[in-house]
Amino acid sequence: MKLKKYMTLGVEKFFWLCAILSLLALLLILGFLLKEGLPPLFSIGFKSFLLGQRWKPLEETFGIFPMIVATVTATAGAILLGGFIGLFTALFLAEVASPKAARLIRPLIQLLAGIPSVVFGFFGLVLIVPWIANRFGGPGNSLLATILILSVMILPTLASISETALRAVPQEYREGSLALGASPMETLFKVTLPAAKNGIIAAFVLGIGRAVGETMAVVLVCGNRPQIPQSLLDPIRPMTSTIAMEMSYSSGLHQEALFAIGVILLIFIVALNLSVNYILRGNKDL
């Protein structure tokens, strides 16, 4: 009898152990990335690292400002374009489409979400890059190509999370609005959409996280030139691409600098997650 009790207790402790694995893994990841990435940040200097214009590993000059600009502009473009299409798709699926049509379309969006990023990158490389080069001139590998690919990649995430948020809006809101004489579209944009605001903002923040962190698709279409883009057709090199391109042959301070870029990325992602957490907590109070 006593043995059985100890076994039960042991099994429960084991469940608990598995649960805290996530926390331990996160601490390990933070610990090791900071251990590798923080020292070079101090030895290079925060200011010359973050605001430096030139990235010349051979001369031990490590400035990532052009990469930060590249990441920010590509993400902003993708969130505007992909966000708009994704949000409207979500609105359609949640409010306009017949249940049957929605049931048909939803798996397609899931499939789009499941396509591996390297396939998106390859597709961009063989179709979008030559198209941009032919249509607008320039090398094709550009900020524009990056924005287009990232838009398509974040679109399904945005659409499905926004749809969930829209569906969570109580039916009475819609009925009340319609009963007051508002048209279906007025109800949708002035009542339902604002009511689902928090969930949709969270979807956008997650989309930003995805765009900032995306690597294998971007590295194939961005052109990989560490410069501040002057136009949509200029090649760029976001932070993630730099890590992916140079990690395999770098050593010494160069490799450390790549880890430092990783730390900057990590800080950005954790900040985004904290804000999603904050936004969603606000949602529960509603």
Binding site: L28, I105, G121, F122, T215, A244
Partner: protein, 278 residues
Amino acid sequence: MKRKVTEIILRFLLWSCTLLTIAILFLILGYVFFQGLPHINLRFLTTSYAPGLGLEGVWSMIIGTLALMGLTLLVSVPAGIFAAIYLSEYAKPSRFLSLLRFSIECLAGIPSILYGLFGFTFFVVFLKLQFSLLSGALTLAIMILPLLIRTTEETLQSVPDSFREGSLALGANRLVTLFRIVLPSAIPGILTAVILSMGRIIGETAAVYYTAGTVPQVPLSTAESTRTLAVHLYFLAKEGLDQGQAFAAAAILILLIAALNLAAQGTANYFNRRLTGK
């Protein structure tokens, strides 16, 4: 009048955005299949890759991908399920629990390239596992943990409390209730979680590249490096060597993902039907 025009424009936008999303999907599928399917044949699937010897198949990548997937799931699925059991059946609301949940959210949000960097410094260098199947699998295991935990937890929570109460009322203890009543009712949901994780593993590139390495060989032990299909596609695309092979690899990847999505959908439907008793 003005009201009506806005109405029409908005409706048009809603329709066209949705159609555009679908069109993009079909453009990608159509283009990749059209260019890639003709290159897929038995020879391509069953020969290994050694361009110098005229061998340009994907056999070792298929085996490498499967081996990596198997090993990752072996580590991650039990851990993920037990963690979900703790969160859903045992955990009481507390500061620590919110911290735990936040860390799961954070793990889900970390980009795969950072998993690659971490796996490289921790498993490959610090633990001296080298570029190997094991390094890759352990890295990916952490990466898919949030997906497994969250999906499994949702499933466990959808098992009605009356099931648990009935079992406890009949004198079964908590653990017996869990393993005989709750888990069996949750199996299809857990299967869905596993299938979705398989998709993540198959499609992953950045995290695999710096942990499992890139050697195009059939791994004979967990200590050997291998090259997955996705990493192979990245190589072919980056080098621009042979587009036909790259298209074929892309087509295989999409087909695998589509099959897994269908399987996930199928189990989910089965689960719903059984729960609603139809």
